[in-house]
Symmetry: C2
Subunit: 596 residues, 2 copies
Amino acid sequence: MPIYKAPVEDYKFLTQEVFDFSTLAELQGFKEISLDLVEQVMEETAKIVENEIFPLNQSSDHEGCKYENGEVKTPKGFKEAYQKFRDGGWIGLACSPDYGGQGFPKSLGYIFEEFMDSGSLAFGMYLGLTVGAYRAIYEYGNEAVKEKFLHKMVEGEWSGTMCLTEPHCGTDLGLCKTKAIPQEDGSYDVTGTKIFITSGEHDLTSNIIHLVLAKTPDAPEGIKGISMFAVPKFTIKDDGTCGDRNGVWCVSIEDKMGIKASSTCVMNFDNAKGWLVGDLHKGMQAMFVMMNAERLSVGLQGLGLAEVSYQNAVAYAKDRLQGRSLSGVKNPDKVADPIIHHPDVRKNLLTMKAFIEGARALSCWTSLHLDVSQKHEDLRVRQDADDMVALMTPIIKAFFTDLAFDATNLGVQVLGGHGYIKEYGMEQYVRDARITQIYEGTNGIQAMDLVGRKMPEGMGRLLRQFFHPAASFIEEKQEDERLSPYLMPFVKAYSKLQQATAVTAQKGIKNPEEAGAAATDYLHLFGYTALAFMWVRIVDTVYQNYDKYPEKKSFYDTKLKTAKFFFDRMLPKTSSHFSSIMSGAGSMMAFDTEEF
Amino acid sequence: MPIYKAPVEDYKFLTQEVFDFSTLAELQGFKEISLDLVEQVMEETAKIVENEIFPLNQSSDHEGCKYENGEVKTPKGFKEAYQKFRDGGWIGLACSPDYGGQGFPKSLGYIFEEFMDSGSLAFGMYLGLTVGAYRAIYEYGNEAVKEKFLHKMVEGEWSGTMCLTEPHCGTDLGLCKTKAIPQEDGSYDVTGTKIFITSGEHDLTSNIIHLVLAKTPDAPEGIKGISMFAVPKFTIKDDGTCGDRNGVWCVSIEDKMGIKASSTCVMNFDNAKGWLVGDLHKGMQAMFVMMNAERLSVGLQGLGLAEVSYQNAVAYAKDRLQGRSLSGVKNPDKVADPIIHHPDVRKNLLTMKAFIEGARALSCWTSLHLDVSQKHEDLRVRQDADDMVALMTPIIKAFFTDLAFDATNLGVQVLGGHGYIKEYGMEQYVRDARITQIYEGTNGIQAMDLVGRKMPEGMGRLLRQFFHPAASFIEEKQEDERLSPYLMPFVKAYSKLQQATAVTAQKGIKNPEEAGAAATDYLHLFGYTALAFMWVRIVDTVYQNYDKYPEKKSFYDTKLKTAKFFFDRMLPKTSSHFSSIMSGAGSMMAFDTEEF
């Protein structure tokens, strides 16, 4: 049976030493947030995930969701677990107290999410989608709509969904055909078919609030004509309780590679009563609020899956005896040595570890900016932080999930044949991780978002939110000899990123296909460079605190070694991404369609 | 529904233009082999795979194998399909006419295998394992054993297996506990448990011949004490027909990530009657004959899965309309352009294509050497060819399957959400491909075989079989200006490979962990360089034949473009592998076990 222990120790290091989460208390509404409180929440989160959710992960994958007559049955144990999360107020952890939420910072919410994603990605999505829908309504809905929906969503009595994709369009939402006809009472009649709707139907809550993108009859063509509507499964009476069944039905669920315990639904809307969320024809705006938050969450999903795969791969590698260590017998009393002594097994494990810990740091750094972007009193500071989050969102979504997918595969590889069979649970992490590269905008779309939108915006205004702190750090630390084995390779990668940025931006203006051709390599180059920045900051923190906390010596030493591995063995990938970018679009655009 | 058309055109180019398969006729026993015959066999193979097997691939994955009371039921349609393959003599395609085989060259057998692997990897394994077992018995068995088993195996009346792995040992076969006690009649009593036995039990044949590694009571410790035994499911009477049920039973089958239609069995041997194959305590030798042939086959499995995934990804990308081409509307009558116009989609497709076609060339080059190694009249020529095959075997096994796994994932990515659901068949290729990186020795083991065994052997004697032809080619072609855009990057990669070889070999002598730490990166560096050699040879062939066959202009042009893409976008990976190798073992060996 797989094991899992939430990485509280690593998060304590990040929130207390590398980034100072006590600064959260300076933000509006977070006066009460202290490092002690952060730690306490983490430990509670760890407990509920380890004890209530993780034990269901394998059985629920095996069982999957069952569809019958428009209804979806979730796997055994999910109802009880959902109730516990609801009772504990976990769904509203980072939601506004105005609607019953606990009002914790989002940065804390993302830590909770990583643990949940390790525990059971499929289960976590039933909670996560509600929070995503909450955010869109909270930001864009009028008071009446907020009052109607948010209390019960935050409390977990009702859940939420995002209904974007249609059979003929996913990425290109301008092609959306779902119609919304205004009614006399101010509501809308929504009709159309949506596919790939996560949690579109299930048996965990008494109502489900669908946020649906649709077009009103007079809407402009394309993406500018899209509006967002909240369409509940059961209509809502004036007293706020559920009324009649609304005209929205799940007609089937998908049989998928993974996340089998999460229902992925085809939803038919047939004159379903809905309420406008936000302004007419401004649905994409509201959708992007939800989407951007979800994209960070998806990055965290990758991280969570890589972490649980890593823990199990390590446990197996310490236990499994095969062959002898190349540097001499390590286990003289046994017939063979544990495979963790073999260099190639170490390489696999350390590739996972160095990614996970670097990514976790980047996630903390970004989510701290997210809180600042929403709660700092100074507009200018908020704007800068918002730019940083906007820049990092596609990187965290795509780079984390690409590397996480590879990491879960390395986890399988460590177990060999035992990794391929269901019994050990390792192949499930691969199947579950695979979707994270696809949903909420494929990773190719993330790369296009980075080079096509984030890079040019405000003449590189967003880019400065990474380049400036990185440059300052380099300048400040360049004389620090202890740092130099880490700083030097970082500087090289950083300068490659700068060059690639200049070239891609310049070429992209004349020919957008040049930007498109560079996009994925550029995103990975950026991702590795950003991880390198995190690792060098971690090393810097370690050296600053080394003598201060002598009891942490072994923890610190391991961080230094992991950093070294990252710079030796992973950062070199920046060279190949750089060359690939520099080769330009020619070799891929030269093909006629028939030549494929 | 997925589509598949066997790549006969590409194989015609390879066998007729790049490598001259008519030279096969100069080998012993292949007098009749002409290019026409090769083409004819390919076309027949294509037909049977496209029509009889490929249509079963998806349904058989869905259905899987069923275990009940020691018996295994294969999915619907497999029995009928097996009968057709048997009737057509396909199983014995490359087996000796002495035992009823068709006596075709192995290089032709491998083409057949690629098609089969695209058609249905799981089905193909029922045939493939028989051929593997045939090879071991054919090479090492005495006349009596060969007579007893081979006729019916070649004919397909009986099938074969390889029983190596035990619960506590896979890679480290020296730990094998299965016992074989000699009996008065010259047979052996075999007792033990074997796991992960492909085709260990099924309903396609009237008998199953298990080749079992076991130790006799007086056997030396470890790997030197292993012998190989042929243990049939039903004992064999003196007249060659099946007798009583032997003491070998399938006690369960594995629930796996993929290849669900292939039975993976736990086999109990309980005083089962077996016959020695080869000399006592020389089981590893016989096992390696079987294993090496299988390793090439596994590489081909990767290739076959990448090919079928590619074909379906291309079909989808030409059909699916989303967004507009960045260089202007391509499809003015429709609401959007096909996604094949988007650079990132092209990058995914071309990464698949350039791998597939380069790998196919490397496979042809190697399998031609395999035939020469067995059938050339000159011992010296045979030895050289054998060295070449031995060198390429771990590369083809591991590099092909690593890149093929990535390719099948790119295929999924092109389809987005539709790639993740079972309906389109794309995720099955990923799940099926995943095992190829694991079985017949994990890819980490292949890398160790390359640096630890193949590299040092005879002071680099094996390496010369790649380095010499590559160096001659470079010298011969260095003045050819048309070739230069391809030859130059190849030369750079080649010199990196030479450097890495020297460093790894030298460091590895002093400290084997250095070789172990470099192994996987070195194998990939070698793999990319070998593909580059293939691509530059393809380009050379194209330029030589360009004016000769004007009707092939568009085929040739596409080859040149694909080569360009390979050199621009894929070969740069050699840089990062090179840096990674050069960083040495330090950063991964520095960790204590507790630090993971």
